[in-house]
């Protein structure tokens, strides 16, 4: 049959990609401490334990704070960079854009180690949530720029001039015309940055102070087999949250394009 090879390949690929993730909810609701088949029965007690674990709550709190700050700062930087990129060219524009996008392909472990050295050895700073936020802003900004570039470049430059022509200042023209048109891009960028930061492990592991982030805390739990089902429950919640956030981000990105009357050309989803 024509294309059946391709079909099998696609199904195998999807299984390989998503089967492990499907195991999360299965064992999260399994009434047994050992992660193995056959299943022992249905329970929600692991989710119940999530509610009473103070250390976990602290870790989640840290992560949410870091992710929120990262989303705000990365998007702020992204707006500035994308705005500059959409305006008339200036000397060295290409080179600068290239450098800004570099962290996208830089191995995180390298970023983590070098940041640790700079922060501890050179600057002698205390590790805290803020050191992680700095590093996360570094890795999230390129994503933010990539999303916002699309949003800014789709705007007819004459729109801003028309606003100026009708009596607005540069700032009010930006606020009244450009900003409303890129709001979907901004929301999308914040959601993506938030998601990336929330489950980022390597950098957080290196730069975390006395208070671990959630991924680092989960990693710590793995040493105790008895707590594995709790991790599964937590993982189930995280996967659900990630999917919801990414889908929302994509919705806003597409709405932004539709609003500017542009045909879709790629994106992260």
């Amino acid at each position: 049959m024509k294309g059946s090879g391709l079909k099998i390949y696609a199904i195998a690929y999807l299984l390989f990609l998503y089967a492990p993730i499907l195991l999360l909810p299965i064992f999260a609701f399994n009434d047994g401490t050992i992660i193995a088949f056959p299943l022992q029965g249905f329970t929600t007690k692991w989710f119940g334990e999530l509610w009473t674990n103070k250390a976990l709550h602290d870790a989640v709190g840290n992560s949410l704070f870091i992710a929120m700050m990262t989303a705000i700062f990365a998007t702020l930087l992204g707006v500035c960079a994308a705005r500059a990129g959409a305006m008339a060219s200036f000397p060295g524009k290409k080179g600068i854009t290239g450098f800004i996008m570099l962290p996208l392909v830089l191995p995180e472990i390298i970023v983590a180690v070098s940041l640790l050295i700079v922060l501890r050895q050179v600057l002698d700073m205390q590790l805290s949530n803020w050191t992680i936020i700095m590093a996360h802003v570094l890795i999230c900004t390129p994503f933010s720029i990539a999303i916002l570039n699309g949003a800014f470049q789709n705007i007819d430059p004459a729109l801003e001039e028309a606003a100026l022509d009708l009596g607005e200042t540069r700032w009010s023209a930006f606020r009244l015309v450009i900003l409303p048109l890129v709001v979907p891009g901004i929301i999308s960028s914040m959601l993506i940055s938030f998601t990336i930061s929330l489950d980022e492990f390597i950098i957080a592991f290196f730069l975390t102070g006395s208070n671990p982030t959630m991924p680092v805390y989960i990693w710590g739990l793995l040493r105790f087999p008895a707590s594995l089902p709790v991790v599964m429950a937590l993982g189930t919640l995280l996967v659900t949250l990630s999917i919801v956030l990414l889908a929302t981000a994509e919705y806003f990105r597409r709405r932004g394009l539709a609003r500017a009357g542009i045909k879709d050309s790629g994106g992260f989803l």
Binding site: D156, A158, L159, E161, A162, A163, L164, D165, L166, G167, E168, T169, L176, V177, P180, L181, R259, A260, G261
Partner: protein, 361 residues
């Protein structure tokens, strides 16, 4: 006469590119003025310097007697209709039109009355609630007009406002723009590369070439007495021949290659004409074919038809005449009983001294 807009020695450089090379221009209040020229000659640049989107590299620009250097676009008494119309896509039609009133001291009621009036004026009454993306090209254009006119600017700048419309719509909007301009009495400066549009609409036209103004005149003068070959080439259709000018006391005559010698009336002799070789322009409609059975008081010369283009109401003939380098184009009205000649037909071409436009060689 005090000019509403006055430019003196205006120069504009983009980096090393010399986009405007010394523009002197006076535009009167209430005038419909057009900037006409081939692509890349600097029309948009000139319009944008008047609007305040581009600074001058040199020279002065005054609007209503006030020097505009250092005055940003938002503080100038000009408004612009952009080529892309630049309708704000996130605002409704009424919100677009009201945009410029944001800073005005009008009450809410006065504002909405003004918006209604502006929309009525451009024939879009009742469209206020529409989303701006649900508009046709012609409607977007009207919204852009209403949005600019609601501020009652001293000058309305229009950058090829009709170029995105189809032919029918364009002709309709030309008439409407003329009507609108008469009605509001605002000075219009129109950029176009369509010579017909400029001729139809303008009180005066500046023809631009490579950052300079080649000629500035009313449409009729521009058409009948172009001051150079490039203006003659750009406006309408023109045949070019060579000739030699001789002067004898007060009379100027010209010996046109292939046609013969003719004495020119004083009104047809440009100032500064000197004896010697010249280029001679002849409009297709100032020549004629002498059909069988017709007679003429004017001069005739033998010719052979080399091409025929039939337009229904008109026929354009290309004819060859001994001693004339290239074929001459002649336009003839297809009057009742008049035949359409075939290629190769022997015929006679009617001309006289009134056909000749003297151009610097």
């Amino acid at each position: 006469m005090t000019a509403l807009i006055s430019l003196r020695g205006v120069q504009k450089y983009y980096g090393t590119y010399h986009a405007l090379r010394g523009i002197d221009l006076d535009i009167k209040a209430g005038e419909f003025f057009s900037l006409l020229g081939p692509s890349g000659c600097g029309k948009t640049t000139l319009l944008r310097t008047i609007a305040g989107f581009e600074g001058l590299s040199d020279g002065t620009l005054k609007i209503d007697g006030k020097d505009m250097s250092g005055v940003p676009a938002n503080l100038r008494p000009t408004n612009m209709v952009f080529q892309s119309y630049a309708i704000f896509p996130h605002l409704s039609v009424a919100e677009n039109v009201a945009f410029g009133l944001r800073k005005s001291s009008m009450s809410k009621k006065e504002k909405s009355a003004a918006v209604k009036e502006a929309l009525d004026m451009v024939g879009l009454g009742g469209f206020g609630g529409r989303a701006s993306h649900a508009l046709s090209g012609g409607q977007r254009q009207r919204v852009a007009l209403a949005r600019a006119l609601i501020l009652k600017p001293k000058v309305l700048l229009l950058d090829e406002p009709l170029s995105a419309l189809d032919k029918k719509m364009r002709e309709q909007m030309q008439v409407e723009l003329i009507r609108l301009q008469r009605q509001v009495g605002i000075t219009f400066i129109l950029v176009t590369h369509d010579q017909e549009e400029a001729l139809v609409m303008s009180d005066r036209i500046a023809v631009m070439f490579e950052g300079e103004i080649g000629q500035m005149d009313d449409p009729e003068t521009l058409y009948r007495a172009p001051n150079s070959r490039r203006v003659a080439e750009f406006i309408g259709k023109m045949n070019f021949l060579t000739g030699v000018v001789t002067t004898d006391g007060g009379t100027v005559s010209v010996d046109v290659a292939g046609l013969g010698r003719a004495e020119l009336p004083a009104s047809q002799v440009p100032q500064g004409t000197v004896p010697g070789k010249v280029s001679i322009g002849i409009r297709p409609e100032t020549l004629a074919i002498l059909f069988d059975g017709e007679t003429t008081q004017r001069r005739v010369v033998d010719a052979t038809v080399s091409e025929v283009v039939y337009y229904g109401d008109m026929t354009y003939y290309d004819v060859r005449i001994a001693g004339v380098e290239s074929a001459l184009t002649i336009s003839m009205k297809n009057l009742i009983g008049r035949p359409v000649l075939d290629v190769g037909a022997k015929t006679k071409v009617i001309w006289d001294e009134r056909s000749l436009v003297l151009l610097p060689a």
